[in-house]
């Protein structure tokens, strides 16, 4: 059973159009220019010190792998110190967790042979920072698989993982940037594009029809929001696709920065199964605007042509029904729609456990991007308090200089809202009630409420459980081998 793929072997076995991600050299965009600037930034300089959040990745042997700012090679002695601190504490039968100073929080995370360190001035809690580091780890796993990483370092403790991650700093840079600006990570949810449910059903129907054996998931994404997801019926009976995996997938696609044409790349979904690759076919359905993206996940490495054929079918169906218009016409709601004068911004996440644990989230704001990013800080602080492991809360109402904030967790939903600073409690509550009523009314349009399924050729598959710690040797002899 070949469940562990050596990525180095894959390079040799590529077909003409197969593009292995770590060989892909993305096109230069303005983001790249900045990325290069950071790479060459002089470490220990004032500007380097003042970055809000540093993230470092190194191996257990102290070898540098990645640094968000500055050249990681130049940082090798600093990384050596970090590793020394980790080992020293470990030697005493203990485990280092974090260091606090007035301005910074330093958080450590060790996963297998990799060590992650975050030095942050954002005042996030230790748990939140550690979760971000875990995402970075998972992003690396999404490119290499956990099994490969562990095996490589087992053989050679001194291995320089940069050889395998060559060119993918942009992926990690992109992930860190998006984590700092997108509340989806804090909420563990994925944003959905609001669509009338009839339109969404029609789109899903098109996706459901265009299938091929070994095709497991089909996604339609528009403007970074999920439009529709369909999945293969039997394969995923007891498995779940977590929002975190989706974020990693979206990030990989974003970072590849391609526009025309198509991509066929291996991707591991760490929370789903951290030891195996899926193969993702990615193409934009509306060049040159490139806002609507189609992602098809297959378990068969050789299925490129079959999957490309699915895309063609989908494109045809879209064209005949003019489906792209539905997506384009969708209105992103703004707060003014709901006539709540003091409400400036809110985040809402229903806790209904849906079919397959899709966690939609909606966000509304009329304010600028910078304001929304600034709001993330207080939101994150409230999120941390309300979900505290030792003393969780139900509600927080925080009246401060710049705004009044509210966080509320019930069994049905979780919500964060921002009001003008001088709002009275009465108005805040009444506007909140209006908002909740509106959300309830529009629920169908705002969220993906169920996940349509399809079945490919009859294959009595056994799904893999994520976190294969209780690894029953699942040697099913079907084409779903690669998922075990």
């Amino acid at each position: 059973m070949e469940s562990h793929r050596d990525p180095l072997c894959d390079i040799n076995r590529t077909s003409r159009r197969l593009v292995i991600f770590h060989l892909l050299w993305p096109r230069r965009t303005s983001v790249d220019a900045l990325g290069l600037a950071y790479m060459n930034e002089e470490i220990m300089s004032e500007s380097w010190r003042q970055h809000r959040k540093h993230v470092f990745v190194l191996s257990e042997a102290g070898k540098p792998i990645y640094s968000r700012y500055g050249n990681e090679e130049a940082l090798s002695s600093t990384m050596g110190v970090m590793m020394a601190l980790v080992s020293f504490v470990q030697a005493g039968g203990n485990m280092i967790q974090s260091i606090f100073s007035d301005e910074h929080t330093v958080v450590f995370l060790q996963k297998g042979p990799l060590v992650f360190v975050s030095v942050s001035a954002t005042r996030q809690s230790e748990q939140q920072l550690r979760r971000e580091l875990l995402h970075v780890y998972h992003q690396i796993v999404s490119m290499l698989t956990q099994a490969s990483i562990n095996r490589i370092f087992e053989r050679r403790k001194n291995f320089d993982l940069r050889r395998l991650l060559f060119g993918s700093e942009k992926v990690l840079d992109g992930l860190l940037d998006v984590m700092d600006s997108d509340p989806s990570f804090m909420l563990s949810a994925v944003q959905c594009l609001p669509l009338p449910s009839s339109s969404r059903d029609a789109l899903s129907h098109i996706l459901q029809k265009a299938i091929t054996p070994d095709l497991v998931f089909s996604f339609l994404i528009a403007n970074n929001r999920l439009v529709s997801v369909v999945q293969e019926k039997t394969v995923l009976e007891d498995a779940r696709l977590k929002p975190s995996d989706l974020h990693l997938l979206f990030n990989l696609i974003r970072a590849s920065a391609f526009q025309a044409g198509e991509i066929w790349m291996p991707i591991c979904l760490p929370l789903f199964n951290h030891d195996c690759y899926f193969y993702a076919y990615v193409a934009y359905l509306d060049p040159p605007e490139c806002t609507v993206c189609l992602v098809l996940l297959s378990t068969d490495k050789e299925a490129f042509y079959a999957v490309a054929e699915c895309k063609r079918k989908i494109e045809e169906a879209f064209a005949s029904q003019n489906a792209l218009q539905w997506v384009a016409n969708t209105q992103l709601y703004y707060v003014d729609d709901i006539s709540v004068a003091n409400l400036r911004h809110f985040l809402y996440k229903p806790s209904k456990v849906l079919d397959h644990h899709r966690h939609p989230e909606m966000e509304v704001g009329y304010r600028s991007q910078e304001e929304r990013i600034r709001l993330l800080d207080p939101y994150r602080n409230m999120h941390n308090r309300i979900h505290s492991t030792s003393r969780p809360l139900k509600l927080i109402y925080h009246s401060a200089g710049k705004e009044t904030l509210l966080a509320w967790v019930t069994s049905k939903f979780e919500m964060f809202a921002c009001f003008t600073p001088l709002v009275t409690k009465k108005s805040a509550i009444s506007e909140l009630t209006k908002l909740l009523r509106w959300i309830k009314k529009e629920e169908d349009r705002l969220f993906i409420c169920h996940l349509p399924k399809y079945s490919t050729a009859p294959q009595p598959g056994r799904s893999s459980t994520d976190r294969g710690s209780s690894a029953r040797p699942n040697t099913s002899d079907t084409g779903l081998l690669s998922l075990l």
Partner: protein
């Protein structure tokens, strides 16, 4: 695992405490010289050196990112270390074990409390600046002094009972009517005039402060010392019965109940040696070294501070005793009478209607209706410790910005906690109204503020 196994619960406790100065042993092989004080002493030398080395490494590491604001604490799975640079290059480190619940197969409940770092500042009061001491007698003298002081001080630390009040480090003021206050004022003035050596005075009643001539920060530390160390040590004899052998000092003096808490224990004995503890105040600017004379009569205590350069002999003490003793005794009984009158008026002490904690940063006044008894070793609160920790969280949030804020929180148990910060004052209220909503809670707090804190907090 078998459910019959017991869960052991560990409260936070002090694992070790040490002081070091990296400048004292910069070269290889000299590391031991850096250590000025280490508790517990039994720890093997190499391990001490390693621990100090780790602290140095951590501080250095964080300086990479912020040269002026190095590490304050290190969290590991099993313990937490707190770093405090008391003065340039003199570092104090405290290692505390995390509270945990040890279950048969797994342990380590996440540490539940954001510790307020202990007031290591108290040591400054008694040791002056380390560098001064160093100049005076070299390293040996410094280590000796540190040993003596910290050995006793560490015994007074009781980490498991620390809560928000310790963060504030406030002073509890004794409420008085105008007349009595004036009597005390004039008493202090008279004494200061007659005993010209006295530089500063502080007057306390019942462990609460009434008046002080010291700078606020110094008084805060002195107050803490008095209430956590000195008074508890001397409280037993007074409470003992008349014929108890614990009362030798008071015997023989029928004129008054005054006695020295520091200094001569028995004035009648001409051969007994005595000395007054020395304290250092105003360490920031003028740096004064003073004798601390604490004189007590019943539940009233007066602190007199005299320049340390003066030699205080028996004669002086006798003079003080005869001057202060009778007056203080009278005052003490006056205050007691007033207090009783007031209590009769306000009615018997019942369960306070509102549970709150109030602190004023400007005058360090603190008031709590939550603590039924708060000493160094015991903190008896009428609310669940988790709620106290929520207060601590709110206080942390308040500390981030310098603006007036309000935070209202509903806990999982349906208790409401309201925190208000306005203009250097903080108020925390705990309400047990399970079915109340935000508006109702707001109204309740308004009522409280109207009765007890008139015009202090702005409300909507």
């Amino acid at each position: 695992m078998a459910s019959g196994m017991q869960e052991k619960q560990y409260t936070p406790s002090l694992l070790s405490f040490f002081i070091y100065n990296p400048k004292f042993g910069p070269r290889e092989g000299e590391e031991e010289k850096k250590i000025l004080f280490y508790h517990p002493i039994e720890i093997e030398k190499n391990e001490k050196i390693r621990n100090v080395g780790l602290c140095e490494a951590i501080v250095q590491f964080t300086r990479t990112f912020s040269p002026t604001n190095p590490a304050k604490s290190l969290h590991t799975q099993k313990n937490r270390q707190f770093f405090h640079e008391a003065e340039e290059n003199y570092w104090m480190v405290m290692v505390v074990r995390n509270p945990m619940v040890e279950k048969p197969n797994k342990d380590g409940k996440p540490p539940t409390v954001e510790y307020q770092e202990e007031e290591i500042i108290v040591s400054n009061l008694f040791n002056g600046t380390f560098s001064r001491a160093f100049e005076a007698g070299g390293v040996e003298l410094l280590t000796q002094k540190l040993e003596k002081f910290f050995y006793r001080y560490l015994q007074t630390l009781h980490l498991q009972s620390c809560d928000l009040l310790d963060v504030f480090g406030g002073i509890s003021f004794f409420p008085l009517d105008k007349m009595t206050y004036l009597k005390i004022q004039s008493f202090v003035n008279r004494v200061e005039e007659s005993l010209s050596l006295v530089k500063y005075t502080a007057f306390l009643y019942n462990d609460q402060l009434i008046w002080s001539g010291l700078e606020q920060d110094d008084m805060r530390i002195l107050y803490k010392y008095l209430t956590t160390s000195l008074f508890p040590r001397h409280s037993e004899p007074e409470l003992a019965g008349r014929d108890s052998p614990l009362r030798p000092e008071v015997a023989g003096n029928l004129l008054h109940y005054g006695r020295f808490l520091t200094g001569p224990a028995n004035l009648k004995d001409p051969d007994a040696k005595f000395r007054f503890p020395r304290i250092f105040v105003n360490t920031e600017d003028s740096y004064e070294e003073l004798h601390l004379i604490v004189y007590k009569a019943m539940t009233a205590a007066v602190c007199f501070m005299v320049n340390a350069a003066v030699d205080l002999n028996r004669e002086f003490c006798e003079q003080l005793d005869s001057l202060v003793g009778p007056q203080l005794t009278l005052l003490a009984s006056d205050i007691c009478e007033q207090f009783n009158i007031n209590r009769r008026i306000s009615g018997p002490e019942k369960e306070p209607q509102f549970k709150f904690i109030y602190f004023n940063h400007m005058n360090l006044a603190e008031k709590s209706t939550i603590h039924m008894r708060k000493t160094a070793s015991v903190s008896l609160t009428s609310v669940h410790p988790d709620l106290m920790k929520i207060l601590g969280d709110i206080n942390c949030d308040f500390a981030r910005v310098n603006e007036d804020e309000e935070i209202i929180v509903k806990a999982m148990t349906d208790y409401w906690v309201v925190g208000k910060k306005s203009d250097q004052r903080e108020l925390y209220v705990i309400l047990n109204q399970k079915n109340a909503n935000l508006i109702e809670v707001n109204e309740e707090v308004k009522r409280l503020c109207a009765t007890q804190f008139n015009n202090i907090f702005f409300l909507d």
